[in-house]
Structures are given as C-alpha cells and as structure tokens.
Amino acid sequence: MEVRSNKDIHIRSIALDEAECREFVCLPEAGGVVLFIGTVRNHTEGREVVRLEFESRESMALKEMHKIADKVCGQWPIHKVAIHHRVGSLDIGEVAVIIAVSAAHRKAAFEACMYAINTLKETVPIWKKEIFSDGEVWVAAHP
C-alpha cells in the first residue's frame, strides 16, 4: 500500500481506462504527458486475428512492472508513471496496455515511455495467445 506514490501499477481483467492513467500522472508541475496505448490488432503477418488471450504470472509481472517504473523515474526526470496491463480474453480494438508518463519536458517523457513499453515487452511475464479462425498460437514462443 503506497500512499501518494509516483507509480500506479495494475494488472486488470476488466477494460483499462486511459483517463484514469492520464489523471494519475498529471500534476501542476508537469508540462508534458506521453501515453502509449497498445490495442489488439486484427491481423498478424497477414493472418486475420479473431481475438487475443493474455495470461500473466501476476505477482511476478507486478514486480517487474514496478522495476520498470522505478528505473524510469531514476533514469529520467519523470514526475509520475502509470502502467496498466489487461489480461483475459480481448476483442479486436480493445486496449491491452497503457503506459502514461509525465515530465516537465517532453523529450524525457517520450524517452521514458518508449523505454517502459520496450522493457515491458522483454521482461514482464505476460503471454499472449492469438486466436485465428482456424487455430491459435502463443506469440513468439518458437524461433
């Protein structure tokens, strides 16, 4: 339970809320907010995706997401960071991840947000299964 933390980290099985993320990071001394919103695409390498299923090792994923937030705040002059990830079954167009970062200056906010989403995709134990009309596949599982 962190009160007035500069981090807002969640894994949720209900729809993510971009306004909530933005409101968390916004504060009077922040001039720039950068948000990344990752949505479910309707195709992958030309094949039509019907929906996605995300699963996580929640306790470890939250730990890794906190590490990313701490790194971001240590490496750039960032005010606040929100990282929300969805799990469960997602339809096309639904939001899978939101990362929001606020800073006095926009360059830091862009760099920190990019770092956060790149690192999340490398280290956070969340797995995505693409469901096609004729099968399904765990993304990136095989070489």
Binding site: R57, M60, V97, I126, K128, W138, H142
Partner: protein, 82 residues
C-alpha cells in the same frame, strides 16, 4: 532430496499440462540448471521454444541458482505482453 512447486505459463503450461505441480529431485543440492535438464528430459518439447527463462519466487535467476524446499519455480517461455 528437494521438493519445489513448479508453475507453468503460456506455451510451457500447454506442454507440461499443469499450471502447478510439485517436483522432487533426488539430490542434496539442486540448481535451477538441474531442474531445467530434468524438465527437458521429461518434456522434450520445451527444448523447441525460442527461450525458456526460469524464475524462483518471482525473480529471474540464472541456472547456477540453488533452489530450496518449497521454492516456487516459474517456467517463463518468451513473454509477449503489450
């Protein structure tokens, strides 16, 4: 003899076919590498994955790490969040 709990996710879960299972290795000192070899032997399809990281008690570890009784061992095939 060391008994740990094995948690499998993503495609590793499909291969092992259990979300959670106890795993006992007959040795006084057991490393993550020992568990890896044991699992590769028992579930050869794990070897076909692009990568298979292993976590202990929710932290990434390397194969030299020594595990102890009741540790939670997490099989982490390539992650794909975001």
């Amino acid at each position: 003899m060391v008994t740990v709990n094995l948690y499998s996710y993503g495609i590793a879960r499909d291969i092992v076919n259990e979300r959670k299972m106890p795993l006992t290795l007959e040795a006084d000192i057991v490393t993550v590498g020992d568990i890896r070899l044991h699992l590769y032997d028992k579930y050869p399809r794990l070897k076909s994955l692009a990568s298979l990281a292993i976590g202990v008690n929710d932290e990434y570890v390397n194969d030299d790490t020594i595990v102890t009784d009741q540790d939670e061992i997490i099989l982490i095939p390539p992650v794909s969040g975001g």
